[in-house]
């Protein structure tokens, strides 16, 4: 047997270690499940960390209502297979309660609204730790985030007040009202995730793979034509062969032209890719500091 771990084994072992630290250190943790490949990977890692026992946390999905159908059916199948608890927080509820106001105009999306629903859900169930699938390679602000990242009562992240994080000792002590966001796959890159998905044979929602779809072009990006998009006569619908690199609110997740309809083709495409994954998310484009602002406001 080799006395040295392969890089995917090492990343996997680290993520499992972090998940078990969450189990050991917190009273009421939760796993934030978006339906995207990163949170699907987290669920797989949680199975490796806790089977044959149950997960020591429920899955929590913040549902914008503007979904790709495929992700919801994927989610329900997954829950049925793993037999764990799912909690859904609906952005529509926050809208109905008057806590948030639906955006208007052509580029309206519910992406910004989900922060409120998330914070309400955290408060309602008194979650003290929320596991998320963010990675440090996604974006510059994230490159500085801790693996255990403390949020105040308002869900805010203060980059200046981050705790030092040394060795693999994670300090999960918090005051009442605070909670910790935990990122077990911080050290993975997008390519690492894909290579892992392939190695582990993890099933993904079909929208990750190339398929034919009605699309329109907005701000230079391809968007799935859907009833959730405020379309007008300027928007010309064309059939294109596309896939999605992230799965979010359908009204702000851009597609990429691609013929990659299997994992090998996707890995090949990413290895030589000219666009970063977040480049396909419209909401990050607004300003270079967009992500930083959203994080301070309690976004995932």
């Amino acid at each position: 047997m080799s006395k040295q771990l392969d890089y995917l084994d090492e990343l996997e072992a680290e993520a499992i270690y972090i998940l078990r630290e969450v189990a050991g250190q917190f009273e009421r943790p939760a796993l934030l499940f978006s339906g995207g490949k990163d949170s699907i990977t987290l669920v797989h890692l949680a199975e490796k960390a806790f089977r044959p026992g149950r997960f020591p946390f429920p899955l929590v999905h913040i549902d914008t209502g503007h979904n790709f159908e495929e992700t919801i059916s994927y989610r329900d199948d997954l829950i049925a297979r793993i037999g764990e608890k799912l909690i859904v927080g609906y952005v529509q509820d926050s809208i109905d309660q008057g806590k948030v106001v639906e955006q208007k105009g052509k580029n309206a999306s519910r992406n910004a609204l989900q922060t409120v629903t998330l914070l309400d859900t955290i408060a309602k169930y008194e979650f003290d730790a929320c596991i998320g699938g963010a990675r440090r390679d996604e974006e510059k602000a994230r490159a500085k985030e801790r693996i255990f990242s403390v949020r105040d009562e308002f869900g805010q992240w203060d980059p200046k007040r981050q705790r030092p994080e040394l060795w693999d000792i994670y300090n999960g002590k918090i005051a009442k009202g605070e909670n910790v966001r935990v990122f077990p796959i911080s050290n993975w890159t997008e390519l690492d995730v894909w290579n892992y998905i392939k190695r582990e044979n993890i099933a993904l929602p079909s929208i990750y793979f190339a398929h034919e779809r009605d699309c329109i072009t907005r701000n230079g990006q391809l968007m799935a034509a859907s009833p959730f998009l405020n379309m007008d006569e300027e928007d010309i619908v064309t059939k294109s062969t596309v896939r999605f690199r992230t799965v979010g609110d359908i009204s702000c997740t851009a597609a990429v032209l691609s013929s990659a309809d299997n994992l090998d083709a996707i890995i090949e495409e990413i290895s030589s890719s000219k666009i970063s994954e977040r480049g396909a998310r419209i909401d990050d484009k607004v300003s270079e500091a967009a992500m930083e602002d959203r994080k301070k406001g309690g976004y995932f």
Binding site: E47, I169, N171
Partner: protein, 415 residues
């Protein structure tokens, strides 16, 4: 393909950000939209080329001040290795950030500006590298383009550094003359320094052996979580989940449970439903023992031989990380592996002036102070010395008033 974690240390303006940017750029690790954002930004070099340093200093406050003030992690790979870079600030007021970045690294790059040579900061950085037990050091003499790519300048700096390396007890040191700005010897061999016959920085990083062979050290397995499904078909199932820090464990091995000292042996090593004959350092697995013992999170399973002797008193180096000074009358929390216990600092033996390396008496530690202390814990710890075992010899201190991590501890002698 394995993983190399390294960090870079240098004074402000030595070219750290440029060096990392250069490495990412020349290995094609920067994607088109990121490059485009770079080109949009109005920071340019004097000659109009894009400023590679922007790639690594992230947050807005830092962009405004133009300096890195935290640890930023960057990732890239070649076909030989995956690299994780901890980019840390070099100024003395950020010593704690550097300690943080260094705590997880297997290799340190120490940057020296060819025009300035070994300076006070170089001494400090080298001392920290030694304190944190980083085995491999690469000294990059940067800005060689500004000293006419002179071999004499380079050799003089190497000589000077060797004396320093001896003084702070660094084991493996390599020296590379580079120009981060122009790219010499970073990823591509320099045509301006034919007198240099060594490898490029990237080549060195790809080939250097940093497995200080964790598997040769005695087995240490802190229990993180006990798996007990308590279902009908798994009624008696009891598995200890954790990550093997060091060593190797095999089915049949005798072990001790610390701090209680109970003995048993491993009957099963499980990973996601599969049985393994053996687990090696770094693997997260589930262990099953022959005897039904009372074991919970915070306990450590260790190899029968060379087991640590549980103790409540430890001599350690402490790096203070909080703006509120160390209070020797206060009880802190100490977190060591999966165990948290109460802790007091009973004695400050000395503090070290990290610029001159002189020791002097002290009655408290302020932010960024480092020195030797004796601590006393409420519960026994099954710890090793940091020199013998970097994972089982380290701990953090937590302020009970704020819950903030205020100190980094490296155990030197278990009393």
């Amino acid at each position: 393909m394995d993983i190399l974690k390294f960090f870079t240390a240098g004074s402000v303006d030595d070219g750290k950000s440029t060096l990392i940017g250069r490495m990412l750029y020349d290995t094609d690790s920067i994607l088109a939209d990121q490059l485009e954002a770079l080109e949009r930004s109005n920071r340019k070099n004097d000659d109009g080329t894009i400023d590679l340093a922007i790639l690594t200093d992230g947050l807005r406050a830092e962009r405004e001040q133009g300096i890195t003030i935290d640890v930023a992690y960057k990732y890239f790979h070649t076909d030989k290795r995956k690299f994780i870079i901890a980019d840390t600030p070099g100024h003395i007021q950020y010593t704690r950030n550097m300690v943080t970045g260094a705590s997880n690294a297997n290799l340190a790059i120490i940057l020296i500006d060819a025009r300035n040579g070994v300076v006070e900061q170089t001494v400090r950085h080298s001392y920290l590298v030694s304190l944190l037990g980083i085995e491999e050091v690469v000294v990059c003499v940067n800005k060689m383009d500004m000293v006419g790519y002179s071999e004499t300048v380079f050799s003089a700096i190497v000589e000077k550094y060797k004396a320093l390396a001896d003084k702070v007890k660094l084991k493996h040191v390599s020296y590379i003359p580079v120009s981060a700005l122009k790219g010499d010897n970073v990823v591509t061999p320099s045509e301006n320094m034919v007198w240099y016959s060594g490898t490029t920085l990237l080549n060195h990083l790809e080939l250097v052996d940093v497995q200080q062979d964790k598997t040769k050290v005695n087995a240490r397995f802190p229990v993180q979580w006990v798996i007990r499904p308590q279902t009908d078909d798994l009624h008696d199932y009891r598995g200890y989940a954790g990550r093997l820090q060091t060593g190797v464990v095999s089915v049949g091995d005798s072990i001790q449970v610390l701090p209680s000292g109970q003995q048993s042996s491993i009957v099963r090593i499980e990973f996601f439903g599969a049985d393994l004959q053996q687990a090696i350092a770094g693997q997260s697995v589930v262990l099953h023992l022959k005897d039904d013992l009372d074991i919970s999170r915070g306990d450590v399973l260790v190899a029968y031989e060379n087991a640590p002797i549980p103790s409540k008193e430890i001599e350690a180096d402490l790096c203070w990380m909080d703006s509120r000074a160390l209070d020797t009358s206060l009880t802190y929390f100490l977190q060591h592996n999966s165990k948290i216990t109460r802790c007091k600092i009973n004695e400050i033996m000395y503090s070290v002036d990290i610029n001159t390396l002189e020791k002097h008496a002290a009655d408290s530690f302020k932010l960024n102070d480092i020195g030797r202390i004796v601590l006393k814990t409420a519960d026994e710890l099954a710890a090793d010395s940091y020199d013998e075992n970097r994972s089982n010899g380290a701990a953090i201190l937590i302020d009970p008033r704020t819950n903030i991590t205020v100190g980094a501890l490296m155990f030197r002698t278990i009393l």
